[in-house]
């Protein structure tokens, strides 16, 4: 369960990204966060795994206030929270398998990390993760030789290899073409249902959000303006989220 209680976030340059955010997300939900660029979507995600710190208020994950976590405890917490990035953030020169194996690095002894020696058990688990996203045959291909959709799947496999209870995805399909984007979204749905992992997804394309996600949170200028099942959102509410501008969809971009 993820909870936000009266959370405010102000950046050092004075810009207030989040204003009094209150949320409750039970385990296993598939949530889409929509809104304009700069509305605060990324900040919400990054407050959960403490890539950013909340200025006021509390962020509580599974009954633990994340602001109390430091050092080794914080890193242990992050093992359980996976993050997917828009630019994939893979180690380009490594093979897909090696990239997925890096998910185990935080728990390995120093000498193993230094020499890059993984056990057979770790390699088998990493291959299983690649299999779960359907690119087992690309295990030994270098990441920079894969297509965009395949790279995002490697990123997903890396996250799955962590055995997370939460996955935070920051614009995961923004760099992908429509067909691949839909495949990756379908992967997210499957992972959410099969493994009961909570997924919070930032997404720009509202049609994808409404089609694949259970719940939608609309953010505008740092405030939550809509929070409910995807099926109940109305056009008027969408317009409010997007402040009167055209609502972006996959077809219109």
């Amino acid at each position: 369960m993820i909870e936000f209680k009266n959370v405010y976030k102000t950046y050092p340059n004075g810009f207030t990204a989040l204003k009094d955010v209150n949320l409750q997300i039970p385990q296993g939900e598939f949530v889409a966060i929509i809104g304009l660029s700069g509305a605060g979507k990324s900040t919400i995600l990054r407050c959960i795994n403490r890539m950013h710190d909340a200025t006021k208020g509390q962020v509580i994950v599974d009954d633990v206030d994340v602001s109390t976590l430091k050092g080794a405890a914080l890193r242990k917490f992050r093992r359980k929270v996976g993050m997917i990035f828009q630019s994939f953030n893979l180690v380009s020169r490594s093979t897909a398998l090696k990239t997925v194996l890096t998910a185990d690095v935080p728990e390995m002894p120093f000498w193993r990390v230094l020499l890059g020696i993984f056990t057979k058990e770790q390699k088998m688990r990493a291959l299983e993760s690649l299999d779960k996203v359907g690119i087992l045959d690309k295990a030994y291909t270098r990441c920079d030789q894969l297509s965009g959709g395949q790279q995002q799947r490697v990123a997903l496999a890396r996250t799955l290899n962590q055995n997370p209870s939460i996955i935070l995805a920051d614009e995961p399909v923004a760099s992908l073409d429509p067909i691949t984007a839909k495949q990756v979204m379908a992967d997210f749905v499957r992972i959410n249902k099969e493994y009961n992992i909570s997924i919070l997804l930032n997404i720009h394309h509202v049609d994808l959000a409404l089609k694949y996600c259970d719940r939608v949170i609309g953010v505008r200028a740092g405030k939550i303006v809509f929070d409910g099942p995807a099926s109940t959102i109305t056009q008027a509410q969408l317009d409010e989220v997007y402040n009167g501008t055209a609502v972006p969809t996959m077809d219109k971009g």
Binding site: M124, L127, D131, D137, Y140
Partner: protein
């Protein structure tokens, strides 16, 4: 796992199982072990003869002396105005580097053109490249020791040594610039009816000037440091005095020379990077 309906993937090859994928893993560890072994042997062999025979009888006092000299330099030397003081010697070192670089870059021009494959026929170009290579291989110190026979010790020796040594590196860089010449400009000048001289003046030279100037400044930087090194063989500049003081164990003076040297290099490096970035972006 084989649930896809008639997808293209299914018809290509059967779906890999995880166990099969594991068996297919590339066995890179053999290559890595070999590389590590080669490196270890090289290092081990290199270290075999190098033994620490202990500090010299004066070793630790020298070390302490140098450190104390750096922290307590002789300020009268550092700010004095005489011919044996730091400022004058720094200026002399700069003067050596200026002339050495200038003469070197001028002399390097004919060498570079004669050694470029897009201007001269290949055999001649390669012949000149060999000449340049020979010039470069003779260490600057050796050149200095040879030129001392001609000019005698002092700053003049430093100048001629640096000129000759600069030819080596500068012509190499010039050659790269010349071989990168864009010949299309020459074509359009030709179409306008220009003489060969005009083509060189308006087609070739503008392309080369920025690169030549940048190379010269770069080499000036290096020559500045080299000029102090040449001082060790008495070719003038701050190096000679530094050497004398080290030999006579005058630590405070050593300290002031080191400070003067560091200041010089830092200031010159700062200016030369600024100029070179402006050259690359602006004029």
């Amino acid at each position: 796992m084989k649930k896809k309906n008639g997808s293209v993937l299914e018809t290509l090859d059967h779906k890999l199982t995880v166990a099969e994928a594991y068996a297919l893993r590339p066995r890179k560890w053999v290559l890595y072990t070999v590389i590590v072994l080669i490196l270890a042997t090289l290092v081990g062999w290199s270290g075999s003869d190098v033994h620490f025979s202990g500090l010299t009888s004066t070793g630790s006092s020298v070390a302490r002396g140098v450190v104390s000299g750096i922290f307590h330099p002789d300020t009268s030397l550092m700010f004095g105005t005489g011919e044996t003081d730091v400022p004058y010697l720094l200026l002399q070192t700069i003067a050596i580097a200026i002339l050495g670089t200038l003469f070197g870059s001028i002399l390097a021009v004919p060498f570079a053109f004669l050694a470029s494959t897009n201007i001269m026929p290949r055999p001649i170009a390669y012949a000149f490249r060999v000449v340049i290579l020979l010039i470069r291989t003779i260490p600057s110190l050796v050149w200095a020791l040879m030129w001392i026979r001609v000019t005698g010790p002092g700053a003049a020796c430093g100048v001629i040594t640096q000129s000759v040594c600069s030819i080596g590196m500068i012509s190499k860089m010039y050659i790269t610039a010349i071989e990168d010449l864009d010949t299309k400009i020459l074509e359009s000048l030709d179409a306008m009816g220009c003489t060969p001289f005009q083509k060189i003046r308006y087609g070739v030279i503008p392309q080369l000037t920025a690169s030549f100037i940048s190379t010269t400044i770069y080499r000036f930087d290096i020559n500045l440091k080299d000029a102090t090194t040449l001082g060790i063989v008495a070719a003038g500049g701050i190096g000679s005095s530094l050497m004398q003081c080290l030999n006579s164990r005058r630590w405070a003076m050593v300290g002031s020379f080191v400070w003067g040297l560091m200041l010089l290099v830092v200031v010159i490096e700062f200016f030369s990077t600024k100029i070179r970035t402006r050259l690359a972006h602006g004029e």
